[in-house]
């Protein structure tokens, strides 16, 4: 067993109304960042865990996302990184 740190990005599902992202988009434009087209605000979750290898750590984290960390009705997730601790 080794110890891993798995980072997960969870973002609002594409196509759903994202008022928070829109508010931040508007604020950035107000600040002069006229090139900004779209912003989505989500969550970044870091899981530290023991696993046989990085593949197992990623698989297990994916399972956690489906069962708790993300809500599949409204959110998409992606494993951003898996690193050894």
């Amino acid at each position: 067993m080794s110890r891993f740190r798995v980072a997960v990005h969870i973002v609002p599902r594409r196509g759903l109304l994202d008022p928070q992202g829109k508010a931040v988009t508007d604020a950035l434009r107000t600040l002069g960042f006229a090139a900004v087209r779209d912003v989505h605000v989500g969550r970044h979750v870091i899981v530290e865990m023991d696993a046989a290898d990085s593949t197992a750590a990623e698989r297990s984290t994916r399972d956690m996302c489906q069962k708790l960390l993300a809500n599949p009705v409204i959110e998409d997730f992606e494993i951003a990184s898996v690193s050894t601790l």
């Binding site: 109304l17 008022p19 508010a23 708790l68 809500n71 009705v73 409204i74």
Partner: protein, 230 residues
Amino acid sequence: MKFGIVTFPASNCDYDAYHAVVDALGEEAVYLWHKDHDLRGSDVIILPGGFSYGDYLRVGAIARFSPIMREVVAHAERGAPVMGFCNGFQIMCEAGLLPGALLRNASLRFVCEPVRLRVENADTPFTNRYARGQLITIPIAHGDGRYTADAETLARIEGEGRVVFRYVGGPGDADEWWSPNGSMNAIAGIVSAAGNVLGMMPHPERAVDDLLGSSDGIGVFESILSRVAA
């Protein structure tokens, strides 16, 4: 009839529900602690409003793991009545008792005001004391009430008559759909496929005294009483 009212950490409408059941309806109510494993003989379960577990992760996401929820889900699966108001509705969606999810209000603002609802289906255990199409006024108080579901789910619950309350009362036409939170189809409350689980964002338990603005919410409690007693 005995109502069991679940208290989660940071539930704050449990007493309102108790008041509605005991003082307005004249029935028996017990508080059920979230760590309990026993519904103590309750006929009807109420998941009250509040901010259970500080809304950590997502609204309602952690409360569904409370020990009492296993019994609540079993109660619902037996076909017995369960109702959730506000945070209770959010918990039900997370627990899979009802389809869809409640997202941040489109305005990004917490909205606390009386709203007008139209009773869309008066043939449920929770609405049989109303008439179909009846307009009622019940308060809302939430920041995450935007009902959201995928297109297929939305079509199914609409087709099956499971949307029981809809927000109406837009600036132009009093009968027009108008959502204070951006809910799809202006949905305010739905029931499960079997019809014994109700989730709604508005607070009927806070609308049981004319003195406090409206008693339109008492119909929800009277409906379930007449159904279970029958």
